[in-house]
């Protein structure tokens, strides 16, 4: 382990106050000994930097998929008091509400006679890659409504079922959304892209449930052994990127205006209830709603393909759940025995609310919310469930994925995309992308093993495994 870090338990570590100047609280991160060699000094420094921000509560936290980002580390979680704390785009990132969802089907692996045909049809149907545009033509008024109403807009326009909204974090709509705080530029970028996958680590994957760890929870989530599911990972596209860019510029000035000292300009911030802080939060929430619509429209496209190819009903493909990875939220948490509203930032981390909470859909309330952890390309994904421990320790948060250990460019040069595609095909996994180069950058070797990351959050009690999903075919964005 890196010097200056204190061991709390086999899977928890403390970055003491003083690790960087100005820390108000310690940092805490979750990592096993065998993953500790993947830890970058830069990521710990970023974790410590977050601890210098005003109003930070208890700890600056990071999950076991921690790696170096900008502003916050990836895997970072921090909560801020409403009255004395700040909101920062550095704790959310450019891809606002990048997130992941899982839909089930009534099919089993034996029903997929021609997986290649399925993947090709999905690839033709879902716009994918840099520069891809939606088939939807949104007016300015549509975009306003979409940003205000979130997933309900998509459902009202024929892109889903009423039950879908209930199975999204925040019911797929952050009510604080303020479309008026979203610039003309962001709107220009967003109008052609609603319902597009994007590129990078975004994907659409057909998977089969290959292990069940918690039968009761699996049953509640509607998951069965051998069942074919579909996982969708994407975010708010250019609209979200522009919202971050625009408001970062404003918050840079606001940081100086409010006399806040920050160790990294990407941590530009403003008091939660300042005009600048409110404007960012409203625009970010509008972009988050856009991202939920994006995933909902893609869900509709996927259901349409499955219904056509397999003769199953649209209604037989329910949404298990949809979680956000990059977002700031107003949430109520117990702090030192008192109920407090906090501004919780999760950047590359997942909400993992435990049993009994009203924020968890009724059908899952006795279990805890589903937590969806995508694996890297070609490796297993997991569905976990949120816990009371996460509520007590991490503001109800857990990991978001495998976490990179190799740069995209190094990965591109390490193994050609064609070789990776052929190797995965030998394992029975079809990979389809706009180009082999984009396959190489997401090579399985470029990531920590998702099994190990999930094992850390299990041992720490932050979330508990329910099922494992094995990839059948992946469309790489």
């Amino acid at each position: 382990m890196l010097e200056g870090i204190t061991k709390i338990s086999e899977v928890e570590w403390e970055v003491p106050v003083g690790y960087v100047p100005g820390m108000r609280v310690p940092g805490r991160f979750f990592l096993s000994e065998d993953l500790s060699e993947t830890l970058e000094g830069g990521a710990v420094q970023q974790l410590a930097n977050v601890a210098t921000l005003p109003g930070v509560v208890r700890y600056s936290l990071a999950m076991p998929d921690i790696h170096s980002g900008y502003g916050f580390p990836i895997g970072g979680v921090a909560a801020f008091e409403e009255d004395t704390g700040v909101v920062s785009p550095g704790g959310v990132g450019y891809d606002i509400n990048c997130g992941v969802r899982l839909i089930t089907t009534p099919l089993t692996i034996a029903d997929i006679k021609n997986p290649r045909a399925l993947i090709e049809e999905l690839f033709r149907t879902v716009p994918t890659g840099v520069g891809a545009e939606s088939t939807m033509r949104l007016s300015e008024a549509d975009l306003d409504d979409l940003m205000a109403d979130g997933v309900d807009w998509a459902i009202d326009h024929g892109f889903g079922m009423a039950a879908d909204a209930e199975h999204c974090e925040e019911k797929g709509q952050m009510q604080q959304a303020d479309p008026a705080a979203v610039s003309k530029k962001a709107r220009q970028r967003g109008r052609p892209q609603a319902g597009t996958l994007g590129s990078g680590n975004h994907f659409l994957e057909v998977q089969a449930v290959d292990a069940i760890f918690d039968p009761e929870a699996a049953k509640a989530f509607g998951l069965e052994a051998g069942q074919i599911c579909c996982m969708i990972h994407c975010g708010s596209r250019g609209l979200g990127h522009q919202v971050c860019t625009d408001h970062l510029r404003v918050l840079e000035s606001a940081t100086r205006k409010y006399g806040i000292e920050i160790p990294d300009r990407q941590l530009a911030c403003a008091p939660v209830h300042s005009p600048e802080g409110e404007a960012y939060f409203g625009a970010m929430a509008a972009a988050a709603n856009y991202a939920w619509v994006n995933r909902q429209v893609i869900t509709h496209q996927v259901r349409t393909v499955f219904a056509r190819l397999f003769g199953i009903a649209y209604e037989e493909m329910p949404l298990v759940y949809d979680v956000a990875h990059n977002v700031a939220k107003r949430e109520e948490h117990d702090v030192d025995g008192k109920r407090q509203t906090l501004c919780v930032h999760r950047k590359g981390a997942t909400r993992a609310f435990g049993p009994g909470l009203t924020e968890v859909p009724q059908a899952y309330r006795s279990i805890g919310q589903p937590v969806i952890i995508p694996g890297s390309m070609g490796s297993s994904s997991y569905v976990l469930r949120g816990t009371a421990t996460a509520m007590a320790r991490t503001f109800g948060s857990t990991c978001h994925g495998a976490g990179r250990v190799m740069s995209r460019t190094k990965a591109k040069h390490a193994t050609p995309g064609r070789e990776i595609r052929e190797e995965l095909l030998k394992q029975g996994i079809i990979v389809r992308a706009t180009s082999d180069a984009s396959i190489a950058e997401e090579a399985p070797d470029a990531y920590k093993e998702s099994d190990k990351v999930v094992d850390v959050v299990r041992r720490a009690g932050l979330s508990l495994p329910v099922v494992r999903l094995h990839p059948v075919g992946v469309i790489k964005g």
Partner: protein, 135 residues
Amino acid sequence: MSFEELPHQADVRVRVRAEDCNVLFAEAARAMFSIMYVTCDEGEIERRVSVTSDDMQSLLIDFLSELLFVSEVDRVVFSSFDVVITGTSLTATARGEPFNPAKHLGGMEVKGVSYSGLTITRDGEGFCSEILFDV
């Protein structure tokens, strides 16, 4: 090439060197588009960009962010840039070709240009900048 990639696990970090700040900014833009599109050829399309910022770091970020915006909404892949900086303002002419999915595949979408680790320093007789792109 007057830019090189530096190690970074999640995103793309580049170092750009140039004899003056005008060329430094132009090379930074060229680096960004080479991340996004791999193949960026000369073209007939021209766009003028003007940016004013508080300081040089912000100017670089605002300039690159503006190019990202123009490139995406006008569907242009830029390959060459003439930049003239005056104080903390700049005007630039960007040249390129229409985005063509068949030709411009295989790159990485740049989501944003980060302040984290951003440097602009004197480098002997010239200038050097390190920039982190969120991809």
